[in-house]
Symmetry: C2
């Protein structure tokens, strides 16, 4: 297998594929098929769904990571017991013999626009790649259906990936791409956006177990407080694909001067 | 208990306390004792260690959250089966009868400077509070020892908390406070900083189980690529407490113009 990988890597870009819905999810299978046309593909993805895992990493438990064959390839695949961020760490630091030219994560079954970027395993995988110096893109389709129609998005995913490979994503930035649930012909194009200012208003669903213990399901409603027409939520609501450049320097630089006026 | 809480809330600030090391960890017990002097304290913290959980939330499982008495108070406490971010959501949306005036998270047993802000459950709890419109501070002590000497940090934690209550933390920002492992007298003061540009170079420790299966421990070395004297890592290395204003708008605004030049 390693000889195959070395041989593969000579000419075409080496593309690492991961996701957060698990290695068998239709979204990542679609992404793998697309990436096979662009480069030499290695998949390191979670062996189970990891939605909402944010940037969790596994520090108090062990990790399993084994080769797996799911279809006839030609990609090489590993399924991993960890989180999406673990998968990327494992791929870059343990499995691959060189840094990939690109990491793509997804295609997520559901939106990762606005504040969801922070809860998203899909985006955390992309951010982890970015932290480790690998250009990265997270892709999400606004359709939570397991059998969503990823075909409609394929040409856009390909074009954005090729542009990223051609232009280069600058260090310190990864791309968060969200795709509306529309037929290809109905998608109006691609908009570069900022993250809309929104949050989830939680509405915990309280229940009682058969044994009398109270428990909760976390559920809620997304609230968009942002009327800007330069946001990802606006773009998606208006039939565009949104591309948000995401950074992992979380410093609020504009606040440093203000804080220096505090008596500390 | 609710009557007590209502009564408590009439005059003093309502302070939500959480952490990621679990509700019985010495770091959070120290923080609770300090906050009892400042306001009326409600604790909603994980029932088990949640280090490295990043901004994970529990979407595929149920949550338990029950009142608990650990010491003689006067704080009110709940232990929760979820992640630090879950605890904050639960507190704000289910347990508290009004929005807290402040959320403090920690004191973490170990550093959350530089890129660790993104892996940190401690900081994710603070960020979650910020997202929900609650001023928030995460505190971390650079000592991984379970019986670390949190007393040395107490005056600084109190002063930073009182300043935040007096000055007000602007919306969209939370504070990441790291404290060096030094005697109080040796701490040189407080520095407002930016997040140092660093990452973890992983070194997976590969082993074989008694049943012949290969598994890994995630371990690595922190690499600071940033020589700036305005960073949190520099401040901590030089005997200062670091305070980084952290934002959860992750948009790389400076990249939007550049991306608009791509042919998409």
């Amino acid at each position: 297998m390693w000889q195959k990988l070395y041989k593969m890597s000579e000419k075409r870009p080496l593309v690492l594929v991961t996701n957060d819905d698990g290695i068998t999810a239709p979204g990542v299978r679609s992404l793998i098929r697309m990436m096979n046309k662009i480069g030499d593909v290695v998949v390191v993805a979670p062996d189970s769904p990891q939605s909402g895992m944010g940037h969790a990493i596994t520090v108090n438990n062990v990790l399993y990571c084994n080769p797996i064959t799911i279809d006839e390839g030609p990609q090489i695949e590993y399924n991993c017991s960890g989180t999406p961020a673990d998968c990327v760490k494992m791929a870059i630091n343990e499995i691959l013999n060189r840094k990939p030219d690109l990491c793509v994560s997804g295609i997520n079954h559901g939106a990762n626009s606005s504040i969801n970027v922070i809860y998203s395993g899909t985006m955390s995988a992309a951010v982890e790649a970015g932290i480790e110096g690998v250009p990265a893109i997270g892709f999400s389709l606004l359709d939570y259906n397991y059998h969503a129609d990823f075909k409609q998005a394929e040409d856009y995913v390909r074009d954005i990936t090729l542009s990223a490979l051609k232009e280069g994503i600058p260090e310190g930035v990864v791309l968060n791409v969200n795709i509306p649930k529309l037929k290809k012909a109905a998608i109006k194009g691609v908009k570069i956006c900022r993250q809309a200012n929104g949050y989830w208003r939680e509405d915990f669903d309280k229940r009682k177990s058969p044994f009398g213990q109270e428990y909760y399901w976390l559920s809620g409603e997304f609230i968009n407080q942002d009327k800007g027409e330069d946001t990802d939520v606006w773009a998606l609501d208006n039939g565009y694909i949104s591309v948000v450049p995401v950074q992992f320097d979380m410093t609020a630089h504009h606040m440093i001067q203000k804080l220096n006026s505090w008596e500390l």
